[in-house]
């Protein structure tokens, strides 16, 4: 059984169709990268999965459990618990400026636990930051960290909620090439460690390396879908070929 099934997802803003019926599924432990030009709907797709946007039609199934079905309305409380299946890493990091790196990571888990669990939550937070290579940065505030370090804190913060699926929305687009490398390295390690991930990215080479599955989106539909070898090395769709030609040359 796939960990995630998306069925015929649709979303429009002001009568412009952004997603025109997206369907795909993802196996546990696999990495899916979504490529496509700006405006193709890839970020909107990610935001629908995290309930930051409400889809106009379609179904989202996680572990066989339908967590969103447009036909059946959901309450605010259900959205709150359902969205915890997904973690989200934003392009602009969105760390909380008044909290240290460690506080950013443990804040949400602590809000959901009783006080006697705090020591183990803090221990878990430290472990996650260690894994991100930030053991000496735990007590720094976001403004004292580089962009790459901030993004790695954001990844640790998302992992701290133990989501089934971790989503990345162009995680390196706000970083210079040097800092991009350190963030991609961390994501690659997560892929090797079998974290289930969906990555919206413009880093074609990176997507080729880490992904089990690639989706190429164009104008609100999935234009191409398959393994990196199929979609990136031998694209069948002319639109995909055209998009990739800008990168290869």
């Amino acid at each position: 059984m796939p960990i995630l099934e998306v069925k015929n997802l649709k979303k429009c803003f002001d009568k412009t169709d952004i997603l025109k019926g997206i369907s795909f599924d993802l196996e546990k432990g696999q990495t899916l990268s979504i490529l496509g030009s700006s405006g193709s709907g890839k970020t909107t797709l990610l935001r629908c999965l995290n309930f930051l946007e409400k889809p106009d039609a379609g179904e989202i199934v996680v572990n066989g459990e339908t967590i969103f079905d447009r036909a059946k309305p959901v309450t605010e409380a259900q959205i709150k618990s359902n969205r915890l299946h997904f973690g989200m890493v934003f392009q602009q990091f969105n760390l909380f400026p008044q909290y240290t790196a460690l506080e950013n990571v443990v804040l949400a888990p602590k809000l959901m636990a009783s006080a006697d669990k705090y020591p183990e939550i803090i221990e878990m937070g430290k472990n996650l930051l260690n894994k991100m290579g930030l053991s000496d940065r735990m007590n720094n505030y976001p403004h004292q960290l580089s962009g790459g370090q901030q993004q790695r804190v954001a990844i640790a913060r998302a992992l701290a909620m133990s989501p089934d699926i971790l989503c990345f929305d162009e995680p390196t687009s706000a970083l210079d090439p040097e800092l991009t490398g350190e963030v991609l390295k961390v994501i690659k390690e997560l892929a090797i460690g079998n974290t289930t991930m969906i990555i919206v990215t413009h880093e074609i080479g990176f997507a080729h390396d880490v992904s089990d599955q690639i989706i190429f989106m164009d104008d609100g539909v999935i234009a191409d879908r398959g393994t990196p070898a199929q979609v990136i090395d031998n694209p069948s769709n002319p639109r995909t070929r055209q998009f990739l030609s800008n990168y290869h040359s």
Binding site: N50, F51, L52, K80, S81, R83, L84, F86, G87, M88, F90, Q92, N94, L95, F96, P97, Q98, Y99, L107, A108, L111, M112, Y141, P142, H143, R157, A158, M161
Partner: protein
């Protein structure tokens, strides 16, 4: 003579201080309440509130004091505040609280709306509800951003309290001016400036301390 004047001005300054403190304590929460109303999605809530803010900010506070004090008696035949010292003080307090709450509400609105939407989204995907998001994430960032404009308003309020004397509320200028009639000297009136200056200096120090305390994040 200097001692007599100083004691009289100190007494007047207590009146100033009373009006100042009560206005702050009441208008800050009322201002937050008004700002939430002015950001309401419903035009039936937002519209009237924005209209009231426009009127209050668009007319002189001195005029508002006169209308609030004399208005009920003149227009409705109900002298709401009575003629006594306490009644005049209550009318002045009402006018000040209402006026400053409107100014504060705009500062709060600016502060709340300046927080990037990414902060709300980050909190939401971490499973926080609206209350947790506001109190754990948003509020302190708003406070940090509004300290400088709030301190501006607070220092203006110290000096605006002198307007209350148009409805014969006793405060420091009133006392200073009384020496012109009683003793034919004008320097006590000028001397009141020292009291204002010292007090606003104290407030300036207080606000720069608060700003420093919030300096640990950006």
């Amino acid at each position: 003579m200097f001692f007599t004047v100083t004691m009289s001005l100190l007494e007047g300054f207590l009146g100033t201080l009373k009006l100042f403190i009560l206005t702050l304590v009441l208008s800050l929460p009322l201002g937050l309440f008004i700002s939430l109303g002015s950001m309401n999605k419903n035009i039936m809530v937002k519209g009237p509130i924005r209209f009231i803010i426009w009127v209050v900010r668009g007319t002189p506070l001195m005029l508002q004091l006169l209308i609030i004090y004399y208005g009920p008696g003149i227009f409705f035949g109900v002298p709401l505040w009575g003629g006594g010292t306490d009644g005049r003080f209550m009318a002045a307090l009402f006018a000040f609280v209402f006026n400053y709450a409107c100014y504060f509400s705009e500062i709060f609105r600016g502060g709340i709306q300046s927080i990037p939407v990414g902060q709300y989204e980050a909190a939401a995907v971490l499973g926080m509800d609206k209350k947790q998001t506001f109190f754990k994430i948003i509020l302190l960032q708003v406070v940090k951003r509004i300290v400088p404009p709030i301190s501006n308003e607070v220092i203006t309020l110290v000096k605006d309290t002198s307007l209350a004397r148009v409805i014969a509320v006793y405060e420091i200028i009133w006392n200073g001016q009384s020496f012109i009639k009683s003793s034919g000297i004008i320097w006590p009136l000028f001397y009141t400036g020292v009291f204002y200056l010292l007090f606003s200096g104290l407030l300036t120090l207080l606000f720069s301390y608060i700003e420093k305390r919030l300096d640990y994040f950006r």
